[in-house]
Amino acid sequence: MTSTATPTQTLPDAELAHYNPKSESAGTKRAKSTVFHLVALALTAVVLYPGLWMIASAFKPNAEIGGSNTSLWSNNFSFDNFVTAMDGIGGVSTLQFFTNSLILAIGAVVGTILSASVSAYAFARIKFPGRSIFFGMMIATLLLPFHVVIIPQYIVFQQLGLVDTYVPLLIGKFLAADAFFVFLMVQFMRNLPAELDEAARIDGAGHVRIFTSIMLPLMKPALISTSIFSFIWSWNDFLGPLLYLNTPDKYPLPLALRLFVDQTQSSDYGAMIAMSVLALLPVLIFFLVFQRYIVEGVSTQGLKG
């Protein structure tokens, strides 16, 4: 024991003396970088495995999915699940479900962008009586769980005869009811220099002009991250459409996906997973196209060097 302990005790001192990040040898650097990448790759593999499992399972026969089947790939590779998935459910084509999801998601994006940016401008740039109270109330709605308002909201839309239309799902987006996005934009705008509007005002611009010509172009990162989030949230929303839509013709994808799995009869996991893969594509594309703006938008940095 003692004989082996002695050399290790002297090691730290020797290492410390030589340790200087700037003069690290190329070999050590490469080793460190290799280890870092290996660890990162291993973590990525863990995180991405469910996605890989989903894609692999989409090509398996139903009986081989889950249960005691542990192999990732099946020997019975086939596209049957996709064929079943594209057949639709109960006379409604899968394309219809996609279209419905798209209408809802695009509606949500357009509505949120229009309403949240205008409201944010008012909160950030216009001094009106009770501004801070209203701002506080808006933030308070963030703290109110959605589940608390489900029933009162349902009763309102039911009385107005708007159940089984897209109105209950979209109207809130056009009225800036998503406080999170308003807040995001307010924070973003507060970081934009006030001198810009002051200069515009001296040139004779009113609020409309300042908003459209000065603020909107500068807010691009915030607008884009808002679009991405509201698109993805709307695309993935299950409870809202479940409660407000009755006719299967109007169902978006998340509702349709659930129809493949039925506890009381046989469940077609294969078709459900195949459809999940298809449903994932638009979100993935949307994300890939706009992802470089996300960080920019969220970090609420108005102007950069």
Binding site: G91, L242, S267
Partner: protein
């Protein structure tokens, strides 16, 4: 993400207040409601849960109904089972339940007691072709809230091919608990632990309920309290005490790994106790050529404790404007032989004799129908609709039994834990 527990609590609060409001309303009228004509038909909404297959079949049945009843149009909608009840809870609170609904027994008392469902005794639905022992399961305090579309019964599933490969004889249809346990142990031993006998059947609420009936104990008293004692429950969980941890019973770890598929559907066990209408699902999941059904074990060969349970019911909303049309649609869906031909046993075995006799059953369907015929002589009255909150009780029974299997609880501890939960729940809903 949506937190289901929070959601349900919210909805429960909401529905409870809605019920209080509804109770203040006027009593139900006796009029038939608005009626239509062929030129100017009324439209009723019908909603069900289920998959693509059921949607297709229901579409056909609705088309047939509209053809025979030109004065009524049926607007059909469907969702999955879990979403179905979230939606109904919200609609009930908002006063907007669809006119006619497919219903599950465990929700009948809840909605019935809160006056959300139409008393079908006040409208014209023919129930002459129904087993008299079955109808009470759709009734609460003398009012008929649901008409069963179809029935299911409890059974032991087994895979004859697996038994044959192990050189084990198929069950002959009558066994005691001791014989059943020996059978499970034999499967585990002969397969060298590759195939387990079964899941722990003492963790299945309905199997316990059947065992209670075999011992002439009712699970729930008429006033909604527990009808059995802690000692009964301990005795029940002791049934398989010697089998837990042996290849006779699949371990809880394995069951969890296999979820959402069942061990039986994953070809990990040779038998399973559950409802006989799971046949199609098991066949699809396991890929087995053939599965067979045997009656449940009983220590009293004359009392198997078995009963027919409505696998599904038809109900109408208390607020429907079209009582007469709703009643005619329900009557058609439960009695018409052509509807039987469309659904076969996908809803369960048709409950009405008219419908059952008008349907030809083949293959899997025939197996299930034949099984229910074979146990006819043992059938007793179906239990009343389960108490409010029964779903939670059933789930906690399963959970506590699984902790028992994990070895986290002793049998005494498990019985104490479950009784405490059950008594709290019953007190809350009283």
């Amino acid at each position: 993400m949506i937190n289901r527990r929070h959601f349900l609590t919210t909805v429960a609060v909401g529905t409870a207040s809605a019920a209080a409001l509804a109770a203040c309303g006027t009593g139900s009228g006796t009029s038939a409601g608005e009626t239509g004509s062929a030129e100017n038909p009324v439209t009723i909404n019908y909603t069900w849960w289920g998959n693509d297959d059921r949607a297709e079949r229901t579409r056909k049945a609705i088309a047939l109904f509209e053809e025979k009843n030109p004065d009524i149009k049926v607007n059909g909608n469907f969702t999955d089972f879990a979403g179905y009840w979230q939606k109904r809870a919200t609609e009930a609170a908002g006063g907007g339940l669809p006119d006619v609904m497919q219903w599950d027994l465990s929700y009948l008392r809840d909605y019935g007691q809160r006056n959300q469902l139409l008393d079908l005794g006040t409208v014209n639905i023919n129930t002459d072709a129904f087993e008299k022992s079955l109808l009470p399961s759709g009734q609460i305090r003398g009012k008929t809230y649901g008409i069963p579309t179809s029935t299911n019964a409890f059974a032991v599933y087994y895979d004859p091919a697996k038994l044959a490969s192990l050189g084990i004889a198929e069950p002959d249809g009558s066994w005691t608990y001791k014989e059943f346990n020996e059978f499970l142990a034999e499967v585990g031993a002969k397969s060298n632990g590759e195939i387990f006998g079964s899941t722990d059947y003492t963790g299945v609420w309905w199997m316990f309920n059947i065992w209670l009936r075999q011992n002439n104990i009712e699970a729930f008293t008429e006033d909604g309290k527990l009808g059995f004692t802690k000692d009964d429950l301990k005795k029940w969980w002791n049934q398989t005490a010697a089998l837990r941890g042996t290849p006779a019973i699949v371990s809880e770890e394995r069951v969890t790994q296999l979820a959402p598929k069942s061990p039986f559907g994953s070809n990990v066990t040779a038998t399973e106790v559950t409802w006989d209408n799971f046949m199609a699902g098991y066949l699809a999941d396991s890929g087995a050529k053939e599965l067979k059904l045997a009656p449940v074990p009983s220590d009293d060969p004359d009392n198997l404790g078995l009963f027919l349970k409505p696998s599904m019911l038809m109900v109408a909303s208390a607020k429907t404007k079209f009582k007469d049309a709703a009643a005619r649609f329900i009557d058609f869906m439960v009695n018409d032989p052509e509807v039987g031909q469309i659904f076969k046993t996908s809803r369960g075995v048709p409950a009405s004799k008219t419908q059952r006799d008008g349907t030809t059953f083949e293959g899997t369907d025939k197996l299930v129908v034949d099984y229910e015929k074979s146990i006819e002589q043992y059938l007793k009255d179906a239990p009343e609709p389960p108490i409010v909150g029964f779903g939670t009780l059933e789930a906690s029974f399963k959970r506590v039994a699984s902790d028992l299997n994990y070895g986290k609880l002793t049998i005494d501890g498990a019985a104490d834990a479950w009784f405490k939960e059950a008594e709290d729940l019953i007190k809350q809903n009283a």
